[in-house]
Every structure is written in C-alpha cells, then in structure tokens.
Symmetry: C2
Subunit: 467 residues, 2 copies
C-alpha cells in the first residue's frame, strides 16, 4: 500500500462512509439535530442512516430511530454529533464502542473558551486517538463531499452545490459559508468542503495531504485566521503543494482582528511577515480575497497554469476592455501586437473603421454577428506569443444575441490554449455563464474581475514556473 492509498483509506470513513449516525437527531426544526439529519438525507447519501435520540422512539424524519448509540444494530463509520458541548464526550465514548471511524462535532465550548474547554477538548482527543476516530471540529459547521455524496453540515441547501474539482478547507464556518456562496455565484463545482474548526485531531495539513491524494480534487482552497505552524507543517505542505495548487486567503493580523482570531479557534496570531514567509515557503499561493480565490481556483481547475504572459482580447464594446487591459498591463501581462499576416486576415472580415489590433474592437457588428469572435480568436491563437484569448460580451439578458460559448470552447481545445469569456451581466441572469460551465470554459461577469483573475493566474503560473 502506498502512502497515498494509506491517506485515502484513513479518511475514507469520513468522506465516503458506509453508515452514518446522527446523534441528537430531531423532528423539531428549531433544533440543530433536525437540520443535521435533514442535511444527510438531502445529500442523497446511499448508505444506512441512524438517527439517535434518547427521548424519541419510532421514527425521526421518517427514518427508524434509536434511543442510544449502544442500541444501534450495527457498527457505524461516521457519527455526526448534533449535541451540546457537555454531551460530546460521553457520546464519543459510546460511539467508540460501536467502532466509529470518523466524527463531526458542531458544538462550541472547547479550546476557544479557555482552560476548562481546553481540558475537555484534550479528553476528546485522547478518546478519539485511542479509538482511531478522525474528528472534524469541534466548533465548526461540518463538511460535505459532493462525490460521496454526503452532507454532514446542518445546512440542507448545501446539498445543491455543484459537483466539481475545487475543495475548500476553512477554519471558520462563517467564512466557509461566504466562500460557498461565492462558489455558487461563480458556478464553480465543489469536491469537498471542510469547516475544520478547533482541529481536535484533523488539522489543515492533514486535509492538504488527503485532498492532494483525492482524485476528485484538482485545486485546494484554504481560509485561515492564524496557524500554529512548525517545521512539520511547512515540510508536509510543501511536498503536497507541488502536486496540486493550494490557494490561501487569510485575515486576522491587525490589533482587534488578531485578538478575535485568538479567541475564536484558539489559534496563536503570528506576525504577518513571518506568516507570509512561511506560507510562501510551503508552496501555498496567497490571494487577496476569497472571491478572487474562488475564481482563480475555477480557472486552475479548468486549465491549469498559463504558459506565458501574452493575452489576446476581443470585444464589441471598448470600455470593459480598457479596464481589463489596464489591470492586466499593471499586473505584468502583455497584449502582443498581431503578426502582419494574422492582422491582414482578421482585417478582411472586420466592419468599416475597425482595425486589426490587440485588443481588438469589432464594434456592434460583432454583437449581432458573433461569428466574428470565433474567426478572430482562431487566427490570434495561432501566434506563439499569445497564450490565451479573452472575449468580452455584454449579454442582452434575454433581449439580444447569445455569445457562441460552445464554438469558443472548441477553439480552446483546437489550439490547446485557455479561453476566457467576460460576460457582462448580473448574477441573476446566468444563462450563458451556465453554458460556459457546461462547455468547460471560464466565464466571469465583470471586466474588473476578469482582469484580476488573469493577473492572479499569471502570478500563480510564474510561481510554479519558478519552483
């Protein structure tokens, strides 16, 4: 058994459990245990589900329930503890006797609340380690795996998240939710999402090792508030970040924000400089904010790094391209001039007054005759110094032509170069954006976001090339 297979097997009962028990399951929608059970059910989990509640006999949410963990009819792999802090330890001990292999603890009241909670957390860790139980939490919103499928959070709507290759590990449940919202807005498919909380016996680096071995994960996104880093973290992460992109967004370095980070999950706030240096050494790519992390993850999942810094941009409307070009040129990308021969060919089908150049403005004619986009990009992508093509299109929101997403996606495959679509439209009209997702093309709904994505992707690619 390779190290890779070992890692996958260690966390298999967590992410791909055969059986799940929800301790504290309830029929009362004002209880956490109601939402925890509803989430498991809504995810379409294929194995046996065992609701446990000492005060209920018969059924909970239509599923046969048990009054205690001891009464469960078989060994259970994953336990979801939807119970208050003081019930966690006894429940954990009972589930250890049922050969539990993994658990999720939502409750707060552990390391983050001081000495007493710290001691309780230590007891939990000892029990879990002795029994070989891998724990997510405490003080978290759980995890889900679209490829299981299993939703071990207390939010059923997360079962609607699209399936894909981006995995997220967040120290904070709230920021995890924010990242999930952004993934949803940007139509990015998710593999695993883990709200890691107090990290009882599963830490960031464990998840980085697992996700870098997980065949369903293409890009790993992290949200941190601080980190107890050591030589171990740096070495173990570095070995993994060379295989798959590991992106990071983090906050909590100013006076009040760092003291809140300390009380939140009990992390020591480290100095920003030391922290950033260590992050870079570990091969982790730090982004400016979580929205940019999500878009970069989507681009890396679809295309991997860029092979150069020259881009071609085409449009029917100049303004957004001025914004993208400004941002890209400041960010170290270039717009190479078109080769004479290619320019001559493009010129043949341009409308009057339009000039074959990069960026290429084809005026309103390209909005009504969208085939101009395909013809021009097909020619420009022949140039060696052009590494990708970007089409800018103001959508009609149902009142005008649609961008020819499929034909544009085909160009990417034909030339072996990434293509990007900047579809100017509200988030509420995602018709072409959905089509882009289905055709494996990155679409972004704002010129400025498009520019920042290209810059982030170029910087990530330079870092990889320099390694």
């Amino acid at each position: 058994m390779t190290n890779e297979d070992e890692i996958l097997e260690i966390y298999r009962p967590l992410f791909y459990p055969k059986t799940v028990a929800v301790v504290g399951a309830s029929d009362n929608p004002f209880k956490l245990g109601y939402h925890a059970l509803a989430a498991v059910i809504s995810s379409g989990f294929g194995g046996a589900i065992y609701p446990v509640n000492p005060r209920i006999s018969g059924e909970i949410q239509g599923i046969k329930s048990y009054r205690s963990i001891a009464e469960l009819p078989e060994e259970v792999e994953l336990f979801i503890y939807a119970v208050p802090d003081h019930q966690v330890l006894p429940s954990l001990k009972e589930s250890a006797r049922k050969k539990a292999r993994a658990g999720v603890i939502f409750a707060g009241g552990f390391r983050e609340v001081g000495q007493e909670g710290m001691m309780l957390q230590e007891k939990i860790i000892r029990v879990a380690n002795a029994a070989g139980i891998k724990l997510i939490g405490p003080n978290c919103i759980g995890f889900f795996n679209t490829h299981g499928p299993i939703n071990a959070t207390f939010a059923s709507p997360l079962s609607m998240m699209g399936k894909g290759g981006v995995s997220v590990v967040s120290q904070s449940g709230g920021m995890g939710t924010e990242i999930l919202s952004q993934l949803q807005d940007e139509l990015v498919g998710v593999s695993k999402f883990i709200s890691i909380g107090n990290r009882a016996n599963v830490d960031f680096v464990d998840m980085i090792e697992y996700l870098s071995s997980d065949p369903h994960t293409k890009v790993i996104c992290l949200f941190l508030e601080g980190l107890d880093m050591g030589r171990d973290f740096l070495l173990r992460t570095k070995a993994r970040s060379e295989r798959k992109p590991v992106l990071l967004c983090s906050f909590g370095y100013t006076e009040k924000s760092s003291s809140l980070a300390l009380s939140h999950t009990g992390s020591m706030a480290s100095s920003e400089m030391i922290y950033k240096g260590a992050i870079a050494q570990a091969g982790i790519f730090q982004v400016k904010d979580s929205a940019r992390m999500v878009r970069l993850a989507k681009a890396l999942e679809m295309y991997g790094p860029l092979q150069g810094t020259g881009i071609f941009i085409e449009t029917h409307t100049a303004g957004p391209v001025i914004a993208i070009t400004d941002i890209c040129e400041r960010g170290g990308l270039s717009l190479p001039d078109l080769d004479d021969e290619i320019a001559r060919e493009i010129q043949t089908f341009l409308p009057p007054h339009a000039v074959a150049a990069n960026p290429l403005d084809m005026f309103a004619q390209a909005w009504t005759d969208t085939s101009l986009y395909i013809k021009a990009a097909d020619l420009a992508l022949r140039q060696d110094n052009i590494t990708c093509a970007v089409a800018v299109f103001a959508t009609g929101m149902g009142a005008g032509p649609l961008f020819p997403v499929k034909e544009f996606a085909d160009l990417s495959r034909k030339h072996g170069k990434p293509v990007f679509i900047c579809l100017i439209a509200p988030y509420l009209f995602p018709e072409e954006a959905r089509s882009a997702q289905e055709n494996g093309v990155v679409a972004v709904n704002s010129a400025e976001r498009m520019g920042h994505l290209l810059v982030d992707l170029a910087n990530f690619s330079k870092k990889i090339a320099g390694d």
Copy 2:
C-alpha cells in the same frame, strides 16, 4: 428662474419628454430599431410614441407608424435615432424642423473613427446647437430615467431596474452595462443612467450639473476612460460636488489601454498623476473599482457620510468579523472598547463563554435567538465614539432563521446612526437583502465587501469633513 431651474428645464425634454419618436423603428428583432422601440414601450412611457420607418406603413409593434419625420402629426420632444451613421445627419435636420429638443444617437462612426467621422460629428453638433437640441451620443447605448419613466436604450430588460436615487454617467456603454449589472446584484435603485458616448454637445460636466440639480438624484457615479479637462470642468464640477457626492471609477492609463481609450471615444489620454490631481481638486471621489463604487453609492444614498470612525460589529460567527475588522483597521477605522456600563448590560444576556466586547461574538445562540443582535446594538449605539453598527449573519438560505432586518433598521432611526448588515449568502438568494432594501438598510453579501465599503465610506466622509 434660478440657475437650477434653468438647468432642469434645459434637460427636461431629454429625461421627461412629452413625446418620443423612434427613427428606424422596426418589427424585425434582428434590427436595432426593434429593440429601441421595444425599450421605450417596456419602460411604461406615458406620452405619445411615434415609430418612424420609410419602408413600413401602418403599425410597428402595434403602434401607428410614420414613413418620415416630416409626416409626424405634431412636434416631438425626444428623437431616438436607431439608424446607421450616414442617416443620422439628415434625420437630425428633419427632426429640427419638428422642433426636436433632445436626441439619442446610438451609431458609431463619428469622432472615434478619425478625420472623416470627426467632421461628420462637427456637422451634427452645429445642427443640434443651432436648433437647441441636446444630444446623447453618438456611439452610445442611450439613457434611461426610472422616474420618467423612459427607457431610451436598446435594452428592454433595463426597464426592470429598481427606482432610486443613484445616477450613473458612463463614457462607455459596456462599462455602463457592467455598472448596471452590479446595481442590480446589489439591489440599488437607479434614478438616471446615461451612456454619454462621444459627447457631441452634452458632456460629463453638463450631466453633473443637471444631476446635482435633479431632486431624484442623491449620488452621482461616473465611469471615465479619459477626459478633455480644462479650467471650466474643474470649476463647474467643484461647485456641484459640494452638494451631492460625485464618485468616479476610471481606467485607461497603461500603454495599450490608453491607446484603446483614445480610439474608443476620441478622448485624449492624460497622464494618470495629472488626471488624479484634477479629479481630487474637482471634489470627485475616486474609487478602486465599479463594484465598490456601486456599494458606496448605495450607502451614501441611504445614510450620507459617517460622523466618525468608530464602528461596532456583532456576529454569531467570528471568521467573517475577523476579515471585516482586519480590513477596517488597516483602512483607518477603529473598534472602540465598550464602556464598562454598556459592557455589563450586554454581558447579562450573552450565552456562556461569550464576552461583551467589540467586536462582539455571541456564538450560535445569536443565530437561533436573533433578538440578541437588537439588544446588543441598541446598547452599543449609545456610545458617542461608536458611529455605526454592523451585524454579520450567515443566512440559512431558506433552511434557518431570518435576520430581523426591520428591528435592526428601527435601531438606525432610533439612534440616528447608520447600521449595516453583512448577510452571508449567494446573490441568488436575496430574500433578506430585499427586505433590507425595503427597510432602508445597507446589506452586503460578503465580509470582505462589507469591510471595503466601510473603509470607502470612511474615506469619503473624511474628505467631505476636510473640505
């Protein structure tokens, strides 16, 4: 008649016309003239609409049509020219004879395409000026006024834009569309939107003067790619920006982006330094990107400037608050400590382990019992050094409790201080965001966006206070 009334009357036939003619109107959805007429109809315009098309007799889109401008049965105030470049001048001359007062020219092919186009544009300006016609364009996507109502673009979906107090003037139609998309995503109500194009005889400063006089406009947003600025612009704008906030987003200073800006609307690219200096002198507040401009405009419309730099933040989830606090502290805002007495009162209703502090983390209890948000903010807002309150809430997306938006909005009125809600949810689940809009409270759907908004608002407020 005051100067203000004069300005309002000059542009009254443009924004509040009594009659509108659509030259080039069509029943063919592949023609611009189809969309131009459909837009006017969809806006619910209350006056007479006159479709004009020499090749059609009878009706166009169900409205009696005319074969020429000369045949129109009465004088018409606003002419929408949905015709190609070479038909603009003859149409304009004809409409002058029908006592046209205002016009919109969509076609490109004028100043932006070189000497020939420049001369054509000069001819148009001479005719319009002689006849007293105010022109939007050429080379633009038109304008709309939700308070008219009149949609003089070629995009009917823009008739669905919410009515409000934010007006937008964009040099670029494409970036104008992007800003409109963002206004829609952020549920910001619009007063006037003007895609100003080549600025034949209506320039930015004219629109700044008009909008600063317009009682329906509370905040003015500009998107520029360059500007032929002179003493006149600076003086005229300065006089106006003192009355109402004038926000600016602009691009086009790098090599390729500035050359594109030059060819786009024929603007001279000025040096970035000179440009920014002049902008500041004119009292215009420059923002980093159009999404931040839109959110700042919304906050200024609802609340006006902040009266101080101390903020209070409360939450059930620490992570997003760590992000907001980090961004705010870096941006010059502070989180004042709670006064002893206020802290003691807040402590009485906090859950175990929670500490009365700023930022205030009330753990999961505040998610299920949202009245804690109201009680705590009601106390914190009593402090003189706290100028606003920010509540952070991860929405259940239909599966959990809703934030008590109305009660929180009432606090704002009670204390005379702004309140902000950071509702962590995708753009596609705007239930509480809509409720916030109805209750006159600013809601933002991401912690990082919330932080940047507070910083932008504080910087704007400092600039105003320093004037």
